[in-house]
């Protein structure tokens, strides 16, 4: 399902209120995970943008109180799962610039049944 090889090591989870003011916290936390995994500067910027776009999408088109961002590091990649605490409604993944950017910047993107976005970025060394 993803382009990653190897077992996942540890996961880092960040939960923020589903509000614009907290998106920067999710973005920076994922950047910190990516720094630890030795992603390049440009890859980290790509990840930050993709995470922000997924959070913005959750704020604009999903419902629920919180957004959960789960970072699963693999040997050669980072998988990020972004979803809300409310899976009980219709999900709109109609295309907009945000989703287009996610697909452009990440190596693998899937939309989960419950409205979540699962995306993987490979580490190019």
């Amino acid at each position: 399902m993803t382009a990653s090889n190897g077992e996942s090591r540890d996961s880092v989870v960040v939960r923020i209120p589903r509000k614009a003011e907290w998106v920067a916290v999710a973005r920076l936390a994922v950047a910190a995970v990516a720094i630890r995994l030795h992603f390049s500067y440009e890859e980290i910027e790509d990840l930050k943008l993709a995470v922000a776009e997924a959070c913005t999408h959750a704020i604009r088109t999903e419902t629920g109180e919180t957004i959960t961002v789960e970072c699963e590091p693999f040997e050669d990649s980072l998988r990020v799962r972004i979803g809300t605490d409310d899976a009980e409604h219709e999900h709109d993944h109609a295309d907009d610039i945000g989703l287009f950017l996610i697909r452009s910047l990440m190596d693998d993107v899937t939309y989960g049944r419950s409205g979540e976005i699962l995306m993987t970025k490979r580490i190019t060394t």
Binding site: A20, A24, L49, A52, T56, I59, I97, F100, L105
Partner: protein, 114 residues
């Protein structure tokens, strides 16, 4: 994590909007308000200086596109000043580089609106 906005009148009907910081879902409404206020005052030629912007996402792009649409209705235009490769990349990927004029300096961006 926040945005600073400075507006400077270059000449009648042409202003330079200098943005500094991060333009995201939280801060882009402030940019939208600042650009909207200028257009409401009849300023239809805008240079938007992104040199000190460290981060922009689709909400920021949306504000710029919205501004461009509004000024075009009055025969105006928007020129961007941007040399940061990470930010240029986002305009490249989305194809917006073809819609906005993008320049390396404020004088070049002003000249393009002459």
């Amino acid at each position: 994590m926040d945005i600073t906005i400075n507006v400077r009148e270059e000449r009648k009907g042409l202003s330079v909007v200098e943005l500094a910081g991060e333009i995201d879902v939280y801060t882009s409404p402030k940019v939208k308000d600042a650009v909207g206020a200028l257009i409401d005052k009849g300023v239809y030629n805008l240079v938007i200086d992104l040199e000190r912007v460290k981060y922009i996402d689709s909400t920021g792009l949306g504000v710029l596109i919205g501004g461009l649409k509004r000024v075009r209705e009055h025969g105006g235009a928007v020129s961007l000043v941007c040399t940061n490769p990470q930010i240029k990349k986002i305009f490249d990927i989305t194809g917006l580089v073809k819609i906005f004029g993008m320049y390396d300096s404020i004088p070049a961006a002003v000249k393009a609106l002459a």
